[in-house]
């Protein structure tokens, strides 16, 4: 099959524990296989600096692209023949969308408190391995619409403020 595909997206904490994960293939059929993969990916990458730019490694015939912020570790895995830059775009989309949705307070606690947003975010990025959307503001927009219409603001800041911050953040990152 020639279509680019994503094998999994992982969000782990600074000890390698799951915050939210989504697997799209049968490469790791059981939960223990998944945990073993997460553990080795975490161990292999934890000493690297993946904070300013996304980093990359080859691992068990897979390409893993990853980025860390605070106590959160973001990973996207694809097959060894996959175009690295496509996987990197997926990671960037996930990372930026989470940043937008958590209003720049990206850490484990905030992620767990807004786990529904993280899970919806994963659902909007990849469907069964096929890339759905990679533009962070579109992803965050799709996830946030629900919250907006639900009329249930997450905390002190309203969602329109959040989106404004998000847009500002995006413009800034584009200007860089």
């Amino acid at each position: 099959d020639l279509c680019p595909s994503v094998k999994n997206i992982l969000l782990l904490d600074s000890e390698g524990k799951r915050v939210a994960v989504k697997y799209y293939t049968d490469d790791w059929p059981t939960n223990s296989a998944k945990l073993a993969f997460e553990k080795s990916v975490f161990t292999k990458t934890q000493k690297t600096n993946a904070r300013t730019e996304a980093e990359i490694t080859m691992f068990e015939n897979n390409i893993v692209i990853y980025k860390f912020v605070q106590d959160l570790h973001f990973f996207v895995t694809g097959g060894e023949d996959e175009n690295e830059l496509i996987l990197s775009t997926v990671l960037q989309g996930f990372f930026d969308a989470v940043t937008l949705l958590l209003r720049n307070n990206v850490d484990k606690r905030e992620a767990l408190e807004n786990l529904d947003l993280i899970l919806l975010c994963l659902d909007e990025i990849v469907d069964g391995g096929m890339i759905l959307e990679t533009d962070a503001s579109v992803i965050a927009g799709k996830v946030a619409t629900n919250i907006l219409d639900a009329g249930a603001p997450l905390s002190e800041q309203t969602i329109s403020q959040a989106l404004a911050t998000a847009r500002e953040h995006l413009t800034r990152s584009l200007l860089k």
Partner: protein
């Protein structure tokens, strides 16, 4: 490189441990889910409970069937709420629960209502959920809506339908294929992602129709594809079309201009995809490669590790086949050696080692030294192997390469890594005479502190062969004797043998060696004492300085030219008696196939019936069989028996194969026949051989097979006389002749009257290779050097265009019928040249060694240099004749 940002602060520990899911418990959450049944729903609370359920599933918790069903039914109640946020969580929950078919029916109507909603988000998500959980029957009902959704003006809805179609194509291809008109329309969408999804689905629908794919590619490469992802797809489809179109030979490659144009695209992923596609074109020319290499080179200095990695990985692959094309990137590549990302650094190093020139070696080695300490063993092995091939490329640079190897040998490392280094040093010593003395000393130092018994014994053995030939052999004795004092029994025994070899070769050292060997007589281990005793006796350990016999030297240094399996079998069969065991009675033929020939597809055994127990060599059994037949008993000693050659196709009425038995003056064909027709009984079975195309052969005897019942293999033989000792060749045509009798299936009895019949078999050839025994040598170089150089015959041959180097090598090996030595029959993929070492014994008991050097060029033309040494010049010439006429 520890992270300053994730300092673990004890004061913050409690806070860090805080989680909204702290102490969460499945039973309690399932209880909480009962609020889904409340008449007055609280959307916010319901969302929270769903999040908790999803959290549990995400952490690897699983629900029992009953629990899952209960949750599912409760969740379906939530469709009553108009809250969009809650609905979104409901969709997610249903997908995670993957409901069974009867459960799906419950939510179908709710989801179908949402599919027709005015709210885009409902439509998009309902489509994704329904397609995920549905089976084929429901699909026909919703097909109409899906087709509409594909061309929906909202891109999210269109993408949802297209991606769902992509997944459904696996299970319901006939339905999805009916949507191609809509999908084709969606390919023209202005929304980037819709275009990508539509293109992926359209290609998937048409993937088995080459012409359609080719048309799709032709039209889209001319048009405008907006989405970078769609552009990447198109590049992949284009490469596929290029691969499948055959006319690459002359003129311009189709679609190359399109790929080259993509190198100027604004999205990096497209540029890279195109560059990679160009480097992977089959038979790519350097002109075609250049623009791709140029963009990859720019990526090498990117600030993004992902770009650098992608570029260096691709260039590394290119360097295997087109090293010259990559040399332009060497400067950028060198700066990557210090890259923070070790994967990038390793790829850069190995690329440089493939492309580097002689003048850059020293600098390169210096840089690698700094880098080796902080990479994993698996990377180190890759580097060591790259260095080994570099040594052979630049033998003048052995000094810095040897230094590098000896330095890393002293550092920490696992067995595989150390073995790779030792192998490389041995390689250098063998191929570069100047490197010998320093290399041996490095190895000596290494065994002083080596924890791997295997490596110590290998090095001691190697030292025994190479050490005595150096200018000052005495300096190695200390290292060797230290092993006798300090090591385990295996290494001690090995060291004793090495001492003996020094004693045998260097007369001046003899008295001292004897002293050391005598000390070993008191060793606690049997093997060590036995070896010491044996060597003292063979070397004449009475202290007199005499020159060692040639026989003794042969014993100590000669390679054991008998396959160990054969020796083991012979020793087992030896019965203690007055007659000592005679090593020359051990068969030398390397066992290639067990006696009971396997008939390719069927299970029925053919050939000689029951397989003999144990690994007794086939030739033993053949010899016994043939000598039991009076007609052949006078033919003398059997020289060689071939592997069975099939003379019939598989699954025919009669299965026949033949084994060629070669004697000095005779050739016997043994036809193994099987009758596969239950209703028939064959009698007086014989093969009529026409030898008109084998002039030097004349038929002398034949032995028919009296009867051949169904499924019971039997043999018939035909013998020919040929000139003595001459490797006569020829072609024989065969006709199976027999009397066939009907068999009554109920009683199994054959009728009295039979009919004479014939059955045409395939032709059979006696080849030069039939006169060659596969006999290996353990150390080819020693064996080669010990043969008279005057018998050497060298010539060069063009083998024409070949599929691959490996194919050419194996063709020559099977033409000569010789034993490949030292694993040289296996060729690393992508090699442009290869040396293969062969050994064998030619009829008349003439030892033959062959050194083959192969090279392949870009047009797959293979050239071969063949050097032969043998005990008899005439045989050396004969080998060349075989190749020249083959």
């Amino acid at each position: 490189m520890a992270q300053p940002l994730v300092k673990k602060d004890d004061d913050r520990d409690d806070e860090a441990e805080y989680s909204p899911f702290l102490g969460i418990e499945k039973g309690a959450v399932l209880q909480e889910a009962r609020i889904f049944n409340d008449p007055q729903l609280d959307p916010r609370r319901c969302s929270q409970v769903i999040t908790k359920l999803l959290y549990l599933l995400n952490q690897g918790e699983s629900f029992t069937k009953v629990e899952a069903t209960e949750v599912f039914f409760a969740v379906t109640k939530l469709f009553q709420s108009k809250d969009i946020g809650l609905r979104r969580m409901v969709y997610l929950m249903i997908k995670e629960l993957s409901p069974s078919a009867d459960e799906v029916i419950i939510v179908t109507s709710s989801l179908m209502r949402d599919m027709n909603s005015k709210t885009d988000m409902y439509r998009a998500n309902a489509i994704r959920v329904l397609c995920r959980i549905t089976d084929g029957t429901l699909l026909t009902q919703i097909e109409r809506y899906l087709k509409q959704a594909i061309v929906d003006k909202n891109p999210v809805v269109a993408s949802a339908a297209l991606v769902s179609g992509f997944h459904l194509l696996q299970t319901n291809p006939e339905i999805v294929k009916r949507w191609s008109n809509e999908v084709q329309e969606a390919v023209q969408s202005r929304a980037a992602l819709v275009q990508f999804h539509a293109l992926a689905l359209l290609h998937q629908i048409r993937q088995n129709d080459r012409l359609a794919v080719s048309k799709l590619v032709t039209s889209l490469t001319r048009g405008t594809v907006r989405s970078p992802l769609a552009q990447c797809l198109l590049i992949r489809y284009t490469s596929q079309v290029i691969r499948e179109s055959s006319n690459v030979q002359n003129g311009d490659r189709p679609f190359y201009d399109y790929l080259e144009g993509c190198l100027r695209h604004k999205a990096e992923m497209v540029i890279f995809e195109a560059a990679r596609a160009i480097t992977e074109l089959s038979g790519v020319t350097s002109r075609e490669l250049t623009p791709a290499i140029t963009v990859l080179q720019l990526f090498l200095s990117s600030s993004k590790p992902v770009l650098r990695f992608a570029a260096v990985r691709t260039l590394n692959k290119v360097a295997m086949t087109h090293p010259m094309a990559v040399t332009n990137c060497n400067i950028d590549m060198e700066s990557l050696i210090s890259d923070q990302n070790r994967s990038i650094a390793t790829l850069a190093i190995t690329t440089l080692l493939k492309t580097g020139n002689e003048s850059s070696v020293d600098r390169l080695m210096k840089q690698i030294t700094n880098f080796m300490s902080d990479i994993a063993d698996e990377f180190k092995i890759v580097v060591v192997e790259a260095i080994r091939s570099l040594c052979l490329k630049f033998p003048l640079k052995y000094r810095s390469l040897m230094n590098f190897l000896s330095n890393i040998l002293r550092e920490e490392g696992g067995f595989e890594y150390k073995k790779a280094i030792v192998d490389s040093i041995v390689f250098l010593i063998r191929d570069i005479p100047d490197a010998k003395e320093s290399g041996l000393l490095h190895l000596c130092e290494f065994i002083e502190d080596c924890e791997f018994t295997y490596l110590s014994t290998q090095i001691l053995h190697f030292l025994g062969i190479e050490g005595p030939k150096t200018s000052d052999p005495s300096k190695y004795i200390r290292y060797i004797y230290n092993r006798v004092i300090l090591e385990n029994a295996t290494v001690r025994a090995s060291a004793v043998s090495t001492l003996a070899k020094f004693g045998a070769m260097v007369d001046s050292l003899k008295p001292r060696i004897f002293v050391l060997l005598r000390r070993c007589l008191f060793d606690s281990d049997d093997e060590v004492r036995d070896r010491a005793t044996l060597y003292l006796n063979t070397l004449g350990g009475d202290g007199t300085v005499v020159e060692t016999d040639k026989d003794v030297k042969d014993f100590l240094f000669g390679s054991l030219d008998i396959p160990l399996v054969n020796l083991e079998t012979s020793l087992k069969n030896y019965e203690p008696s007055e007659k000592p065991f005679d090593i020359s009675s051990v068969p030398r033929e390397v066992k290639s196939q067990p006696l009971a020939e396997k008939k390719a597809p069927g299970k029925k055994p053919t050939g000689l019936g029951a397989p003999p127990p144990g690994p007794t060599s086939a030739i033993d059994a053949y010899e016994k069989l043939l000598s039991s037949i009076p007609e052949f008993s006078s033919f003398g000693k059997l020289f060689k028996s071939s592997a069975p050659v099939e003379l019939t196709e598989a699954e025919t009425e009669y299965a026949v194969n033949v084994v060629k038995h070669i004697f000095d003056r005779h050739v016997v064909f043994q036809y193994n026949c099987t009758n596969t027709i239950p209703e028939q009984m064959l009698e007086n079975v014989i093969v009529i051989v026409d030898a008109s195309e084998a002039e030097e052969f004349s038929e002398v005897a034949s032995k028919p097979l009296r009867s051949l019942p169904y499924d019971t293999p039997g043999q018939t033989f035909v013998a020919f006389e040929k000139p003595e000792g001459v490797p006569a060749v020829g072609k024989f045509s065969n006709m199976l002749r027999f009397i066939v009798k009907e068999v009554d299936p109920s009683t199994g009895e054959a009728e009295d009257d039979g009919v004479e019949d014939e059955y045409q078999l395939e032709d059979l050839e006696v080849l030069a290779a039939d006169y060659m025994l596969k006999v290996g040598v353990s150390n080819f170089k020693n064996a080669w050097d010990s043969m008279d150089p005057d018998t050497e015959r060298v010539d060069e041959y063009g083998l024409g265009p070949r599929e691959s180097l490996a194919e050419a090598v194996s063709a020559v090996i099977s033409l000569l019928g010789m034993q490949p030595c030292e694993g040289t029959e296996s060729i690393p993929s992508n090699s442009r040249s290869h040396t293969c070492l062969l050994s064998g014994v030619y009829i008349g008991n003439v030892k033959v060694l062959v050194r083959l050097s192969f090279g392949i060029d870009a047009q797959r033309e293979v050239a071969m240099k063949l050097a032969v040494r043998s005990d008899d010049e005439a045989v050396s010439d004969a080998i060349h004749e075989i190749v020249a006429s083959g």
